[in-house]
C-alpha cells in the first residue's frame, strides 16, 4: 500500500498554496511515496533503545549574547521582493484569512 495518498499530496499542496496539476499530483505522490517507504524501512530497524533523532549533532545550549548586530538597509531588505512600495513588501491579499 502507498505510504501517501494522492489526496494527502493535494492537501499538502493546498496548505502550501502550491498550484499542482492533476498530472503533477500523480507524479509527486509517487516520488513522495518512495521517500516515505525508505524512511519507514529505517523505522523498522530502530529498536526501542534508539531514541528518535531530530538533530544530527549532539549539541545543546548554543546561544548568542543579546548584542545588536547591523541589520540590512531598507533597500537591501526589499531588493529581492517581487513587488514593493517605498518601504514595505507588497503581496497579494490572502483570501479570507486574518491571522
Amino acid at each position: 500500500m502507498a505510504a501517501i495518498s494522492r489526496e494527502e499530496v493535494a492537501h499538502l499542496a493546498r496548505l502550501s498554496r502550491l498550484a499542482v496539476t492533476e498530472q503533477e499530483l500523480d507524479q509527486f505522490a509517487g516520488q513522495l511515496d518512495v521517500i516515505l517507504q525508505s524512511v519507514a524501512r529505517v523505522g523498522e530497524v530502530a529498536a526501542d533503545d534508539i531514541p528518535p533523532t531530530s538533530h544530527s549533532v549532539p549539541l545543546t545550549n548554543v546561544y548568542r549574547d543579546d548584542v545588536v548586530q547591523p541589520s540590512l538597509t531598507q533597500d537591501e531588505a526589499l531588493s529581492g521582493a517581487p513587488d514593493r512600495t517605498d518601504d514595505r513588501f507588497r503581496v497579494p491579499r490572502i483570501l479570507d484569512e486574518e491571522v
Binding site: L15, S54, Y63, R64, D66, L72, Q74, R88, F89, E98
Partner: protein
Amino acid sequence: MTTIALPSYQEATSRYEPVIGLETHVELGTNTKMFCGCPTEFGAEPNTQVCPVCLGLPGALPVANRAGIEATIRIGLALNCDIASWCRMARKNYFYPDMPKNFQTSQYDEPLCTDGYVDVEIDGETVRIGIERVHLEEDTGKTLHVGGATGRIHGATESLVDYNRAGIPLVEIVTKPVPGIGAKAPEVARAYVTELRDIIRSLAVSDVRMEQGSLRCDVNTSLNRPGEEWGTRTETKNVNSLRSVERAVRSEIIRQAALLDAGERIIQETRHFQEDTGDTRPGRSKETATDYRYFPEPDLVPIAPDPEWVETLRASLPERPSIKRARVREQWGISETDMQSVVNAGALELIEQTIAVGASPAGARKWWMGELARRANETGVELSEVGATPAQVAELQSLVESGKLSDKLARTVLEGVVAGEGDPAAVMAARGLEMVSDTGALTSAVDEAIAANPDIAAKVRDGKVAAAGALVGAVMKTTRGQADAKTVRELILERLGVS
C-alpha cells in the same frame, strides 16, 4: 442568523456555569530578536530592523538569544512552573505573509515551562489559576491591508508587510481551564491578567503594555449547565485592555447563554472583541482550521537549562508583586484604591526610589502621581521616561519643604527639570524662581503695596482685616508669586499695627 433575545448577565450565570481559559502573549524587551542580532526598537522605519535570518533568506541560520531563554525561564519560575530539563523549538508551518519563512519558530509538545499557578484575590477570596504551559516563540511581521475602504482584509486587494517585528521573542502563557468561579468569571479573568502583568513587570523582562501590543490576550469561554460536561468553547481575540478582558468574558457568557436557551449549539470558533460595542463577532471559522505540521526545528539545537543556573534564577526572583504591594501599602499608609492607581501608573518603583533618597512617602507620591503622571499621560510615555529621576523629585520636594519653593513654583521648576534644564536647585536658580525669603526685600515690597493703596491700608487699620487680601495680592504680584502668601499677610498686618 435570527436575532435571539439576550438574557441578563444574572440570568445567564444562574442557569449556566462558565469555564474560562486565557492565552497571553508577552513580547520580551530584549535588545535583539530571538534568533538574530536585529534590534527590537518600537517605531523604527519599516524593514530597517531585518536581516537574512528574520527574512528567511536561503542559507541563513538562527542562533538563540540567551537573554530570551533566561527571561522565559524567569517568567516560568515566577509562575511556579516546572522548568524542562531538555526541550526543543519547533516549526509551526503556515502560509501567510506575516512570516517570510513560511513557518513560525515556536514550541509544540516540549514547552520550556509547565504546570504552574497564579493566585488572585477576588473579594477577599483566593482563586488559584493553573498555568498549563509557558513557551517561547517569535513574533510575526505587521501587515497593512490596502485597496479596500476599511483597512481590514475584507475588500483589500493587497497587503503591505513590515518585518521589523518578525522574530522578536514572544512568550505564550496558557492557563488551564478555570471552572467553578460562576458569575465571577469576568472579574477572575481580569484579576489574572492584572496579576500576570504585574509579575512580568516586576521581572523587568517586558514593558507589558496592552495598548502597544507587548501584552496580548485571547480569552476562551464555554458554558455548561450545572452538573453537565463542559460546553464547546469559543476563543475571543483582539482583547486589548484589562477592562476589555472583563467585558469580553461577560458578553460571551451572555451571548452563549442566549444560544443555549434557544436550544442552539455553540460553534467552536475564533471571535473578535469589539472595543466600541463590548461584544464579540465571529472571525475565522475553525472549519478551515490550519494543519500546522509541527516538527522539531533542525536549525536550533535543544535547550537544556543547567539546573544550577535555574536555581540561581529562582533565588534572584523579585518579591511577588501582591506581597510587595501589601507591604508597601502599609508603610505608606494609603488605601488599596490609591495603591492600585500607583501600580497602574507604573509608579511603585519610582516612588520607592524617591523615598529611598530622602523624600516622605506622601511627598514622593504627590509628584509622581500628580504632575508627572499627568505629563506622562499627555505625552504618551512611560512614567519612568517622563524626564525626571527619583533623586530630582526628592530634591524638588525638599525645596518645597524647606520653604524655598511654593507648590506652584515647584511645578514650574519641574517643567524645567523635565525639559532637561538640570536638577531642581539649578533650574530654580537659573530661572530665578526661589521664594523671596529675605525679610528686608519682602518688607520693602509690603511697604510699597501699602503706600500704593492708602485706602485699603486705612480699612485694614480700622480693623477690616479681610481687606488685607488685596494688599497680599499686590505683594505677590511684585514678587512674581515668589513669596509665601502667609508670611506676606503676617507682615502686612504687622506693618499696619493690627497683629
